[in-house]
């Protein structure tokens, strides 16, 4: 596949490495000649020093016959201009890295259509989803996110004292944004039907929108009271902003420590419900003053990796039970294990890696890919790309005969994911997430593709 990447920052650089390592023909355009020169030696790709938002430069690298055009600079406007130009010059697939929420808001004008961008990517948001996963769902059996965090998937045990015990599924009056998938009873796993009766000790597979799932939690286990969770974020970066958005539920008490006073002001104006503290978390006095030891989560998400690692160690030492770190630089990848096993950091997230994974998935031309594998042989979740020749195109969900033991988890139509209802129609170009047992995979693929 021929891929053009604009911008050799951490994201572009890492994408270049992973994409060229998997055999793609990558061209990277970087503004700074110096950076381009140093990259040329380490990348098996064509590195060009130039302006990625100049049409002449894009013609020079044959943008017309590239399969994917990725604008990955840290500047939104450059990315939008480059993508728009590339689309106009004939690029097949354009992806722009965008931080500003403005461009995802389509109420006045559809920016993506207007500028010819096929996909907006926000590495910081992807990264925030990873961070939020553990904060939002402490102690879950398995949690997986699909469609950029829009759909969550988890397993719940029906605990003693739950009012669900002994009831049929059809009588439960579940939120329509939540589905029940498999029920694991003892060793046997079966797909739940409307007549299925819940029993104590069942492990139920649930999927749906995250907040709806969370609301359901108490019904499964009444003893598990919803507690307030206090989260301290170090650094008011893009990642922190996305994370604050994801944690906008009132049960999360979010505190942000930020060095720059300007940033502090805008943050506090933008998010009324959070506390913003102006200061440097590398100072022990500040950490003690803010009683970091008593909070539940400490998330170090500044742009500076060294500060992130050291302050999180400090927080861990002060007694914070859960510590999470954002690592931006690819060079520190190999330290992941040490950070997790020896230094007690729970989650290490890197925007680059998350983006690369996301990108590889969206650029993949395979008809289906495995997104996750459930524990205890509960099956796998496949993502299928529906094309024009698929037998299921135009059918509604209830008309499609899935093999027994498989079910639809989500349907993603033009980057908007939803939990499928019986009357939803599957269209060409959709992506369908299906939970399936290993033995029935072939049968399923045969029926859908």
């Amino acid at each position: 596949m021929k891929i053009i990447i604009i911008g050799a920052g951490e994201v572009g650089h890492n994408l270049c490495t992973t994409l060229s390592a998997s055999g793609n023909d990558v061209t990277l355009i970087e503004q700074s000649a110096k950076r381009a020169e140093s990259l040329d030696e380490e990348q098996n790709a064509r590195i060009i020093a130039g302006n990625g938002s100049s049409a002449r430069q894009l013609i020079d690298v044959d943008v017309a016959d590239c399969d994917a055009f990725l604008a990955m600079t840290s500047d939104d406007r450059t990315n939008v201009i480059s993508c728009s130009l590339a689309k106009g010059l004939g690029a097949k697939n354009t992806i722009a890295r965008i931080h500003d929420e403005t461009y995802s808001d389509n109420s006045v004008i559809n920016y993506q259509v207007h500028f010819g961008i096929d996909l907006l990517v926000n590495p910081e948001a992807i990264c925030a989803v990873e961070l939020a996963k553990a904060i939002r769902n402490p102690g879950r059996v398995a949690v997986e996110n699909f469609a950029r965090g829009q759909i969550e998937f988890q397993q719940q045990r029906v605990a003693t004292g739950s009012r669900l015990v002994g009831k049929k599924l059809k009588d439960l009056k579940l939120d329509p944004r939540v589905r029940i998938g498999n029920i694991l009873r003892g060793e046997v796993s079966e797909v739940a039907g409307p007549e299925t009766v819940m029993e104590q000790g069942d492990v139920v597979t649930l999927f749906g929108y995250p907040d709806a799932l969370f609301a359901l939690r108490e019904r499964f286990d009444p003893k598990q009271k919803v507690k307030e969770v206090s989260v301290v974020l170090f650094g008011g970066s893009e990642t922190a902003i996305s994370l604050i958005r994801l944690l906008s539920h009132p049960r999360f008490k979010v505190r942000v420590i930020e060095k720059c006073p300007e940033h502090c002001r805008t943050l506090s104006e933008r998010f009324k419900e959070i506390t913003v503290i102006h200061g440097d978390a590398t100072s022990l006095r500040l950490l003690e003053e803010e009683q970091i030891g008593q909070c539940d989560y400490f998330v170090a998400c500044t742009k500076d990796d060294e500060e992130n690692i050291l302050t999180s160690l400090q927080a861990s030492k002060l007694g914070t039970p859960h510590v999470q770190v954002v690592i931006n630089k690819g060079d520190y990848d190999q330290l992941d294990n040490i950070l997790k096993t020896m230094l007690g950091i729970e989650v290490v997230v890197s925007p680059r890696r998350a983006t690369a994974k996301f990108m590889q998935r969206s650029l993949s031309t395979e008809p289906f890919s495995v997104l996750a594998e459930l524990p205890n042989g509960g099956g796998r979740i496949l993502e299928l790309r529906i094309n024009h020749s698929s037998p299921c195109v135009g059918k509604t969900v209830k008309d499609i005969q899935l093999p027994i033991g498989s079910l639809f988890v989500a349907i993603q139509h033009k980057f908007k994911a939803r939990v499928p209802a019986a009357d939803d129609t599957i269209l060409a170009g959709d992506r369908v997430l299906v939970l399936v047992n290993k033995e029935q995979e072939k049968d399923l693929i045969h029926r859908l593709l």
């Binding site: 060229s20 390592a21 990558v26 040329d40 030696e41 990348q43 098996n44 790709a45 020079d60 044959d62």
Partner: protein, 490 residues
């Protein structure tokens, strides 16, 4: 230094050489030799030795991690060429009677570096398989010993890029492809196809198949080995000379430039200026040589004299080294002109040797800028080449390279002259120039009808080293002599 990866890749170079020896056996069989003959026995033995060495290197390097840094890449290239030269000398040693080691090494390095100077007076009496090896070694060396597996080993990743830009005079930036492997693959495809075309053209011009294949290989590599004792003069055929002129010019033109034209990508002709200069110099030199020939013979210019002038200008400037006449008998101004053409050489990113046209042009521009600065120190003059801005670093690299090359030439002249006290000045000068710039024939004692056999052993070994230095554009060999390269920690 990561020596294991070097061992590993060296063993692959040896494997490739063993394969090349195998081809020579096939060529020998096709030309009527049999396995009972001493020549094929010798080739089998060479294959055995090569494979044995390859095995040793393979065992030494079996734990190699495919991560190449600059230091390893440079050493690898230098070492592979030295090793290939030594291994490539074994067939000569085993087949030719009373062959001195220095002669075999000289012939082998002259082959691989596409120089085309010979140390054997009676090479035309060699068995066909050995003649084929002489030509094949040039064909392999033309593109580069290492480039062949840069294209094949995708596991080398970005390391392949460093290998490529150090072995070939072009850089990886010239390619339109992102992956160096694909770029190198296109290059090989082009190399193979022009070799095929050239073979057919020679056959059509009147050579037999063996001659046309051999000459095609040495023409495309701008090497200059011939199977005939008097080079192309032997055939005395205008058609063959024109075919040769066309293909020599083609193989001294930047390969990527021609590939781009073939693919009809007009908007990225990055080498236009260099190629235009190259052709311009060729036409000018042909014109001057024709005039000097008129002066020499007293005849008005006719087809023969113009063709001869063009042939010699092309053959010398592309650093091939074929001769259609004995140009040692020409007038001094003609020889002067040829010496300058030898120095300039062909385009970068081709198989030709010499300083390369692009460097000369850049150096001239830098000189012009210095002169401007002498009387107007504050004027800002941008340095461009084919529309691309040149960085100060790039200009400095060119000038340092020129300086290094010229001082090496002067130093070598001192050494050769001391070693060969009875050689005349022009002989010493052209001996060094013909080898360092990978041309082949020179003047006087090593003129087109002469050979290098009468030189002393030590001189021949030294000249072999000079040829490799010239072919690899100095650095890859010179680093091998820097002690800190070999230290584990310095």
């Amino acid at each position: 230094m990561n020596t294991t990866i070097i061992y590993k890749l060296l063993s692959m170079v040896l494997l490739a050489l063993a394969g090349a020896f195998g081809l020579c056996i096939i060529a020998g069989l096709a030309c009527g030799e049999s396995f009972g003959d001493a020549s094929l026995q010798a080739f089998l033995m060479s294959i055995g030795i090569t494979l044995g060495l390859a095995l040793v290197f393979h065992i030494l390097g079996r734990k190699g991690v495919a991560k190449l840094f600059r230091r390893e890449a440079l050493c690898l290239i230098g070492l592979s060429w030295l090793l290939a030269t030594v291994v490539g000398a074994t067939p000569y040693l085993l087949i030719v009677e009373h062959c001195a080691i220095s002669d075999a090494i000289f012939e082998s390095s002259s082959g691989l570096t596409t120089t085309g100077a010979t140390a054997f007076q009676n090479f035309h009496e060699f068995p066909h398989s050995l003649l084929f090896w002489r030509s094949l070694s040039q064909w392999v060396g033309g593109l580069g010993v290492v480039v062949f597996f840069v294209a094949l080993l995708s596991s080398l990743g970005a390391g392949a890029k460093i290998l490529f830009s150090n072995e070939s005079s072009g850089t990886s930036a010239d390619f339109d492809q992102g992956r160096i492997q694909r770029g190198a693959f296109h290059l090989m495809l082009y190399y193979l196809s022009i070799s095929g075309l050239c073979t057919i053209a020679y056959k059509w011009g009147g050579m037999d198949w063996f001659q046309s294949i051999n000459h095609a290989m040495t023409t495309i590599a701008t090497g200059g080995f011939s199977t005939e004792p008097k080079s192309l003069e032997q055939f005395n055929s205008p058609a063959l000379e024109w075919v040769s002129i066309v293909f020599m010019v083609l193989s001294a033109t930047t390969f990527v430039f021609v590939i781009r034209i073939l693919q009809q990508r007009k908007h990225v002709l990055r080498h236009t200026k260099e190629v235009v200069w190259f052709y311009g110099i060729l036409v000018g030199a042909t014109f001057l040589l024709s005039i000097y020939l008129v002066e020499l013979t007293g005849e008005l210019p006719n087809h023969d004299s113009i063709r001869t002038a063009a042939f010699q200008a092309v053959s010398i400037m592309t650093t091939t080294g074929y001769s259609s006449v004995d140009f040692d008998t020409w007038l001094p101004p003609a020889k002067m002109l040829l010496i300058i053409l030898m120095f300039i050489g062909g385009c970068s990113g081709s198989t030709a040797g010499g300083v390369k046209v692009v460097r000369i042009v850049i150096a001239m521009k830098a000189a012009k800028r210095s002169i401007m600065h002498a009387f107007r120190p504050n004027i800002a003059i941008p340095m461009r080449m084919s529309g691309q801005l040149l960085s100060e670093q790039a200009i400095q690299n060119v000038i340092v390279f020129l300086m290094l090359l010229i001082s090496l030439q002067i130093g070598s002249m001192l050494f050769v002259s001391a070693n060969e006290p009875h050689l005349a000045f022009i002989g010493v000068f052209s001996t060094v120039q013909a080898t360092l710039f990978n041309i082949g024939p020179g003047f006087d004692a090593i003129g087109p009808s002469q050979h290098f056999q009468h030189l002393r052993d030590s001189t021949k070994i030294f000249l072999s080293l000079l040829m490799i230095l010239g072919r690899l554009e100095l650095y890859a060999v010179m680093v091998l002599f820097v002690p800190s390269v070999w230290k584990r920690f310095s």
